[in-house]
């Protein structure tokens, strides 16, 4: 099994971190992973994306033509990566920002009101973790327990409240999709 995920959005929406937590959680679960960032002249407000591959076989190419999953956090990202998505592939959309439908009908679409859920938790920055929770529930590729460990690793030395806040966002994201 090898699954590829492209995560894209505005710079500042936390798409790189979302990808890193997915990769790290899968690694902690014993899987092979690669994380590849777009590293052009990126800036806050511009678009950024990363490609994550997880699998139980050795991973060759970290570059992907046809992703299994696309997580789009804004309209330009949805438009850019929609056409690449595999037939019957999964598209997770941040519906707080994306107010339109993808044009393809041969994909599975999940809409997450990520900004609204994050605001309700009390920190608008955790919209990426809300979306990550939805991704975990929808794909089953990463487990909550491992996400917790990956967050502890990433925020090592930081306030425990920060980890709890992020984990709460993941949980609520999971619950937002059925």
């Amino acid at each position: 099994m090898i699954k590829s995920i492209i995560i894209a959005g505005f710079g500042g929406q936390g798409v790189m971190l979302m990808g890193k937590i997915i990769a790290e959680s899968a690694m902690l679960d014993g899987l092979n992973v690669t994380w590849l960032p777009s590293y052009g002249p990126e800036m806050r407000g511009g678009t950024a994306n990363c490609t994550v591959i997880v699998g139980d076989e050795p991973i060759g190419s970290p570059v992907v033509d046809v992703p299994d999953v696309v997580i789009a956090m804004n309209i330009p990202s949805m438009i850019k990566f929609e056409e690449m998505l595999k037939k019957d592939g999964i598209m997770i959309l941040n519906s707080s920002v994306i107010d339109r439908e993808p044009s393809r009908k041969d994909i599975k679409v999940y809409k997450i009101d990520a900004n609204k859920i994050a605001d309700a938790i009390g920190n608008s920055k955790v919209l990426n973790m809300v979306t990550l929770g939805a991704f975990a529930r929808v794909t089953g590729l990463v487990k909550l327990e491992m996400i917790g460990k990956a967050l502890e690793e990433t925020f090592a030395g930081k306030n425990k409240k920060l980890i709890d806040l992020n984990l709460e966002a993941v949980r609520q994201g999971m619950n937002s999709v059925s």
């Binding site: 690694m27 690669t34 994380w35 590849l36 960032p37 590293y39 060759g60 190419s61 570059v63 992907v64």
Partner: protein, 349 residues
Amino acid sequence: MKMLMKGTEAIAEAAIRAGCRLYFGYPITPQSELTEYMAKRMPEVKGVFLQSESEVATVNMLYGAACTGKRVMTSTSSPGFSLMQEGISYMAGAELPAVFINVMRGGPGLGDIQPSQSDYFQSTKGGGHGDYRMIVLAPHTLQEAANIMGEAFDLAFKYRMLVTILVDGMIGQMMEPVELPEWKNIEELKEPDWALTGAKGRKPRKVTSFDLDPYELEKMNLRYQATYKRVAENEVRYEEFKIEDADIIVVAYGTMARIVKTVADSARKEGIRVGLFRPITLWPFPYERLSKISQNVKHILTVEMSYGQMIEDVKLAVNGKTNVDFYGRSAGVVPTPMEVLEAIKKIAR
């Protein structure tokens, strides 16, 4: 324990564990994280981190430090590597061991910051002046990059040669799980008998690439050549992937090689038997082995993130025994698995 690390960080940490305590560098994308990591880490291991004013200064700091017989290194990306070439030639002439990391980006000139493999000529054929060689290692995963650092220093000291780790921006910027190599005990590293350590109580030593008498300079050059011959005989490294029954062998290194591994699997699903031959030492290039395996295949396809540089060595190895084709993109554009598969299908038809 495996850690999720960036390529630049894995290389830096592995170098420290391999006994490197002297790092000189100047930041340049896509390898600035390596410089940054060294800036943070070197003081923690009682090492020296020095950011120079330019790559020209960096290579000369490296020259001076290497004279003391310690494990020294620098890291840069293509335009910076160009600036270092004069010093590299001097160091090669002075038979100094040192490790260079070149995280290649699109060129020529200022180019861009995306991955590329267009410094193959510069690294393997000599970007500086004179009859010199450097050992060039091309890892294709972050684990291999971490593992190869210790070997790079060992080879540099064994042969008194420069070693370049040639990777591209993708290996520099991506993350992968890495099991870091064991720590080398630097107390156990022997001081070479040529090291300049102050001549107190012993005869002075001299490290130089210079002799005005051509017959004396020729002797030095013949010594270099003898070393290069020994390296070519003993240190060739390569990997073969599914070549036993292959009709088409793809030759690729670094990032391109790992993309080709994926492509070989997809091609086989479509009934095209594809294998990969991956040089790990770009110099010395595995001419002999490639020559041997090319006898039994219909096609050799060289795939590079350049417009055709390694293919010249591939053609030397194959020497007309079979067809040698090429597919490549450069300037920071990375060929995708599908593009490479298309190139293979074209040949298979």
